[in-house]
């Protein structure tokens, strides 16, 4: 998950935040890390660029991008499906 945190910080240009400052279960949006709707789109781009995963169902977004852990679980599950 530390790699994923570094990728999030780089993709979203979070210059005032260190990857290790992001908790595994810290909400990414609103009351947590404070990400916005443009950041959500950038996270979708991150999944495509880094993991070749296309989020086909938009309704999955809130669940997948809730925390770093839920993102990591989604990536792992997707990679297992494709292996």
């Amino acid at each position: 998950m530390s790699d994923l945190k570094s990728q999030i910080v780089a993709q979203l240009n979070l210059q005032d935040i260190k990857p290790e400052d992001i908790g595994d279960d810290q909400p990414l949006f609103v009351e947590g890390l404070g990400l916005d709707s443009i950041d959500a789109l950038e996270l979708i781009v991150l999944l495509q660029q880094q993991y070749k995963i296309k989020l086909s169902n938009a309704d999955e977004g809130p669940k997948v991008f809730r925390t770093v852990r839920t993102m990591a679980e989604y990536i792992t599950a997707h990679q297992a499906q494709n292996s």
């Binding site: 979203l12 240009n13 979070l14 210059q15 005032d16 935040i17 404070g34 443009i38 950041d39 789109l41 950038e42 781009v45 495509q48 660029q49």
Partner: protein
């Protein structure tokens, strides 16, 4: 009815120097605009994480406005009474080019939202909760006569009580910002809001 208005504050960013009311307040040898702007942001100890996500045009205008409004009591105006009228030559081309590069693979949503020049007005408005009239115009060069007439019309007709106006231009390594705060009441260091005074301040620091 036309009544005298005053330039109560000015900020020029040009040639790797930031001037407030004609006095240099920050210098940095950085040649890259993004490096210069981040250095200035850190120098003034500004706390606004969104700054790092802005494109260079928005960073330049936002930063110039922070210096311009340092010491300004915005509480004396209603949010609807403060407007912003900006201009430049290259529109959002600096970011348009960067966005176009991303289109070749996966288009960047974060860059796309800055492919309009008036987004810098939005960033300033969000920062200070200004809700007054705003506009962004494109000219080949700083058109002090137009700015003077347009802003005067807004203030004379009580559409605005105060206006941030001027020039915010960036393309590649070339940049210049010249912002002016226009109000109805004079202050100790203010000058009358005229085309000539706008040009004098603008040309004082040609970078």
């Amino acid at each position: 009815m036309s009544k005298e208005k005053y330039i109560t504050s000015s900020c020029i960013i040009a040639g790797q120097v930031i001037y407030k009311n004609g006095q240099p307040v920050f210098k940095c040898p950085a040649t890259e605009p993004s490096e210069f702007l981040v250095s200035a942001y850190r120098h003034f100890a500004l706390q606004y994480p969104k700054f790092h996500k802005m494109d260079n045009l928005a960073k330049l205008g936002w930063l110039a406005n922070e210096v311009l409004l340092d010491g300004f009591d915005k509480e004396k105006y209603k949010p609807e009474d403060v407007g912003i009228v900006l201009s430049n030559a290259s529109s959002s081309l600096d970011t348009d080019i960067k966005y176009y590069e991303t289109v070749k693979s996966i288009p960047s949503p974060a860059l796309f939202v800055y492919t309009l020049p008036n987004i810098v007005i939005g960033e300033i408005s969000i920062r200070h909760q200004f809700k007054g009239e705003n506009a962004f115009f494109i000219f080949n060069e700083f058109n002090a006569g137009f700015i003077e007439q347009y802003v005067s019309d807004l203030v004379n007709n009580n559409i605005l009580q105060a206006c941030i106006c001027g020039w915010v231009e960036i393309l590649g390594d070339s940049y210049k910002a010249a912002l002016f705060l226009v109000e109805k009441d004079k202050t100790a260091d203010s000058v009358i809001f005229t085309e000539e005074n706008l040009n004098n301040i603008y040309q004082l620091h040609n970078g």
